[in-house]
């Protein structure tokens, strides 16, 4: 299935029905909660200091509820009225704004102690009209510049998002750095297809004091890495029947595909029981 951001603009995609569906889905709730906790961890706020946070793309307030639980006061912006309506029904604690983040914010300088945003940035990467203010770089720049001034010095902003290519990551980071932010991309579980999560971790000020956080790695240690063994050289040559072994067998194919996935190559076919299976003879 194609990504939702490719189907329609957010305020239309998240209509009444989709907004309810999204909020009720327990799997969504779980994922959203996990990412919010991780984002808060990356925000690295000083403990025991009540902070005022901005939730960018707050939607129905799934992550806002967690912010409230954790003792933060927050304000949220979103462009989908239906989502905000659901948020009102759920009686979330934060102040809500109907706002297009690509148009920039009007918050006064230094208003917020930090900002988080879960699964939002990818929505900024599609142009809806041909007007010059609708181009993704323009919207990204406007967004990052106004956000930069709205944040306190020093502070952080953490965005989880779903990039569909390396070019998108580059465009977003370039716009953010141009707006005056420091920082960059943190990838959790980079070698896993499902658990992989991309976070954009931006710093305001701090004079080089801020340290880039490390991405999480999977628990399973990769100790299966082969050391060099001469024995192997012999094995490859011939099998026990004296026939030459296939060089590009199933294992080799799987290994290659895994490598391409790690490198982020697009369109690598899925693994299945048919992978590398011999075809029937031609006649």
């Amino acid at each position: 299935m194609s990504r939702p951001e490719l189907q329609a603009p957010p305020e239309i995609y998240y209509g009444d029905i989709e907004a309810k569906k999204y909020t009720k889905n327990t799997r969504n709730q779980q994922i959203q909660a996990d990412m919010t906790y991780r984002a808060l961890e990356l925000l690295n706020l000083p403990p025991d200091e009540p902070a005022f946070l901005l939730d960018i793309g707050c939607g129905s307030g799934l992550s806002g509820e967690i912010l409230t639980e954790e003792g933060f006061i927050w304000a949220g912006v979103d462009i989908a009225p239906s989502m905000l309506e659901v948020a009102l029904e759920r009686e979330v604690e934060g102040d809500l704004f109907l706002q297009d983040i690509g148009q920039g914010f009007g918050f006064r300088p230094g208003s917020f102690d930090g900002a988080i945003s879960i699964s939002v940035l990818q929505w900024l990467l599609n142009a809806e009209t041909s007007h010059p203010t609708s181009s993704p770089p323009h919207r990204l720049s406007r967004f990052f510049t106004t956000l930069h001034s709205a944040l306190r010095n020093p502070s952080r902003a953490v965005f989880q998002f779903y990039p569909s290519s390396d070019d998108q990551i580059q465009l977003i980071t370039a716009c953010a750095l141009k707006a005056g932010f420091g920082g960059g991309i943190v990838v959790d579980y980079p070698n896993s297809n499902k658990a992989k999560k991309v976070f954009l971790c931006l710093f305001v000020g701090g004079g080089g004091q801020q340290q880039m956080p490390k991405g999480l790695e999977s628990e399973v240690e990769d100790d299966a890495r082969a050391r060099f063994e001469r024995r192997r050289e012999r094995v490859r040559g011939k099998d026990k029947n004296g026939k030459r072994k296939h060089v590009k067998d199933r294992d080799w194919i799987l290994q290659k595909k895994e490598l391409y996935r790690k490198r982020g190559k697009e369109g690598v076919p899925n693994d299945s029981k048919f992978t590398g299976r011999r075809r029937r003879p031609a006649f």
């Binding site: 009540p50 109907l98 706002q99 148009q103 009209t129």
Partner: protein, 123 residues
């Protein structure tokens, strides 16, 4: 749920509107009071961010005269409680916010202000 805390941080963001764009003026405001948990530390931490004069003027416009005109040097518990009430417990549910400079109207419905701009107003 526009509270005065966010209103005090909000200025107009339309194209070319860079001076005299704060604070936005309330019009036809319908107010609701809702209790919130009192957190003196948070209020103290917030004080440097608050524009005192704008806050007092807005509160007066909404019929709340409990704050002194000048920001006092010392903050006692009594004052923090009043601040807490004004900042976090007064909700504007319906009405409009109008930019004093470019007269852009941000309508508030159901407690949610509509901050969307038309195409020609985007900077």
């Amino acid at each position: 749920m526009v509270r005065l805390i966010t209103h005090n941080l909000l200025s107009c963001h339309a194209k070319g509107c860079t001076t005299n764009n704060f604070p936005l003026q309330f019009k036809d405001a319908e107010i609701e009071h809702r209790d919130a948990e009192f957190n003196p530390e948070f209020i103290r931490g917030l004080l440097p961010k608050i524009e005192w004069k704008a806050l007092v003027d807005t509160a007066k416009g909404l019929g709340d005269t409990s704050l002194p005109d000048e920001q006092p040097e010392m903050m006692d518990d009594e004052l923090l409680k009043t601040l807490h009430h004004v900042l976090l417990e007064v909700h504007i549910e319906e009405g409009q916010m109008i930019c004093p400079n470019c007269n852009h109207v941000y309508p508030i419905s159901n407690g949610i202000p509509n901050m969307l701009l038309a195409e020609h107003e985007i900077a």
